[in-house]
Amino acid sequence: MSTVTENPTPAPEDPVKERGAWSLSWHGVSTVARLELRQRLRSTKWYIGLAVFFVIVGVVTLLTLLTMNASSVGDVPPELEGGAGRVVFDVVVFFVLLLGVLVAPTLSSSAINGDRKEGTLAILQVTLLTPAEIAIGKVLAAWAAALAFLVVSLPFLLVGIVEGRLSIAAVLVTIGLLAFVLAVVVTLGLGFSSLVPKTSSSAVLTYLGVASLTVITLIIFGLSLALTITPTKVQVWGVPSEVESSWDWSKDENPSFQCEWYESEWDQPHTERTWWLLAINPFVIVADAMPADQPAEEEFYIPEGVMSVIRYAVREARMGPELYSDQCYYGNQPMPAPPRDRDDSPVWPWGIGGLTLLGAGALVLAVRRLSIPVGKLPRGTRIA
């Protein structure tokens, strides 16, 4: 400190322009992301976590393979082998997703309040970085760390490809969705870490958020099922009961009924009002986006594998009760095709939309909380 260098580095030549909170530059984002990754990677034994993750996924994959092989001892028709492979793939993907959403909150849920506590946030806020650059840089760093866990589990997903005879495209879509879900979870973590001053609270909130998406909404869907049951007008193809009862069965046991459309009122669950609770479930999104294991157009479609069951169920839930019913048991009188109003289009785009909104909300919150100067200071928060 005894001497000051003669030629101080010139300040950036052009006058500083005012930039909004949301203004972004790659330079700024990558500066924050590199800072976070360096700090994170060097200060934690992250590779131990990765190794443990690898071993756990490996063990589960192996066990699933052994179980499926053991249960299909004997003559397995070749057409079923693919199904068994699909089960292996399904289990591995779901397991990776489960571990992923368990690990991801820890990567970002203290990113803002933790830095505030450490005294390293304010000194970054006063630089020329914008709040969005800080927030997105932190999200990118946490996401990159989460993706490392996904990369570690790739070998086992490959097993699923081989066993399940899946197209590369289907597997890529699945991996892409896993990565997307992890991005949403780390962004939620960042949002909560900007919201509450204590790191333990933001971790709890993030886990509650993950639990809400995966389990709690499922429970609410199940519990609300009874509440959605209402008397519903159904078009029935059959013989109206008054016609049936007017027939004198003692005279003729082979009535010559003509099936016709008639209206009846049945109690039906209206899951088309609550299906969205399932749509934002990451497991449902991943399952629904998988290609069907059999062409769904087949008359007696029996889904195989975990994902196919979920996919079938959630699309049924979205369609709600069937409003046309074939109750014609007399002779060969097939039900005329009802007007096609059943929409069994994919559910996962809705889920992606919902999760994107959640993530965007969390990001907006974080950017607002990172903006300076601060007017109203939230309770218990200090700036520096």
């Binding site: 400190m1 005894s2 001497t3 000051v4 260098t5 101080p8 580095t9 010139p10 300040a11 950036p12 006058p15 500083v16 322009k17 005012e18 930039r19 330079h27 700024g28 500066t31 924050v32 590199r34 800072l35 360096r38 700090q39 990677l41 060097r42 200060s43 450490e118 005294g119 390293t120 304010a122 000194i123 970054l124 806020q125 006063v126 630089t127 020329l128 970085l129 300076i372 100067p373 601060v374 007017g375 200071l377 700036i383 520096a384």
Partner: protein
């Protein structure tokens, strides 16, 4: 005027942390912001650094309003908080390079600037050490280098000397004087007054969230201050002083003349207007046969002003 504060207020809930501060800090000068703990120094600096919106009043940093022209003001401000952290896993060099990048410098420029600043704060040999192994004083110096990365026009330093050893304090003083000589505006908050005495050109006293006084230290000197005069024989000294009609206060003895622990024996406190008067007092005392041992200012100018302000408040 490069820092201009007028009637600034800020409250946190019911607490009025800053309750009417006026302050001017000029380029090329070091201005001391002096006040007891809890006086509002840190809150004021947070507002100057552009982190907090004042409830009322106006702030200008190099002509820019930190609220409405946040970026322009921030680009010209270097802020060193009283309590700050470092990224423990980053090396000292990486910390500075990261901040260079955060101020929009291209990598080559940031690297050059980091090298330069590490030399300035005598941390070159620790460039490759993680910040976690640095001592408190070294971290403090790294924090100062960090605040200087973008060569700011205005420096806001909150208790910069806390935790520094005497050598580093001297270095800090020399560095801040050099920065002021370059034409920068330096605002230093502290409650350790002795270290500010030789550093600051101007002083602003704040107490209870209000600025109570703004002084030029030269002007304070002109008013004169308390000196401590010690003699081998306190009786001889007091008799001689009484004979000259001077007002003085005997130290080291209670009113009844018995010794008091913790104060020098046989010394008096006396108000002397300037150095010439002090020299005259020495000459006269010696020629009158008083066995003088020492004569020196009792405490710094700032300390005396500070204490006198405290007195006024009582």
């Amino acid at each position: 005027m490069t820092i201009s504060v007028q009637g600034v207020r800020r409250h946190f809930g019911a607490v009025r942390a800053v309750d009417g501060v006026d302050l001017e800090a000029r380029a090329g000068r070091v201005t001391a912001l002096i006040g007891p703990n809890g006086a509002g120094k840190t809150t004021l600096l947070l507002m100057l650094a552009g982190l907090l919106v004042p409830d009322a009043g106006q702030i200008r940093i190099a002509g820019f309003d930190p609220v409405t022209q946040s970026r322009q003001a921030r680009a010209r401000t270097g802020w060193m908080p009283d309590a700050f952290g470092t990224w423990d896993s980053l090396t000292a060099r990486e910390v500075l390079e990261t901040f260079g990048a955060a101020y929009g410098m291209p990598p080559a420029l940031a690297t050059a600037r980091a090298t330069e600043l590490l030399a300035t704060v005598h941390l070159s040999e620790f460039a490759k050490q993680p910040a976690a192994v640095l001592s408190r004083g070294q971290k403090q110096r790294l924090g100062l280098a960090r605040a200087l990365v973008h060569d700011p026009q205005v420096l806001l330093l909150d208790e910069p000397a806390a935790g520094l050893d005497p050598r580093s304090r001297v270095d800090l003083r020399i560095l801040l004087r050099a920065l002021a000589a370059e034409g920068k505006t330096v605002l230093v908050s502290s409650h350790v007054l002795t270290e500010l005495d030789e550093l600051a050109d101007d002083a602003v006293f704040i107490s209870g969230g209000r600025s109570v006084s703004a002084e030029q230290l030269g002007a304070l000197d002109a008013v004169g201050r308390q000196w401590r005069v010690t003699a081998l024989d306190a009786g001889a000294l007091t008799r001689w002083l009484s004979s000259t009609g001077a007002q003085f206060e005997l130290e080291g003895a209670a009113d009844d003349g018995s010794p008091v622990e913790g104060t020098p024996r046989g010394s008096v406190l006396i108000h002397i207007p300037d150095d010439a008067a002090a020299a005259a007092l020495v000459r006269d005392a010696v020629s009158a046969g008083v066995p003088l041992v020492s004569i020196a200012p009792a405490g710094g100018v700032l300390e005396q002003t500070y204490l006198s302000l405290e007195e006024e408040r009582r």
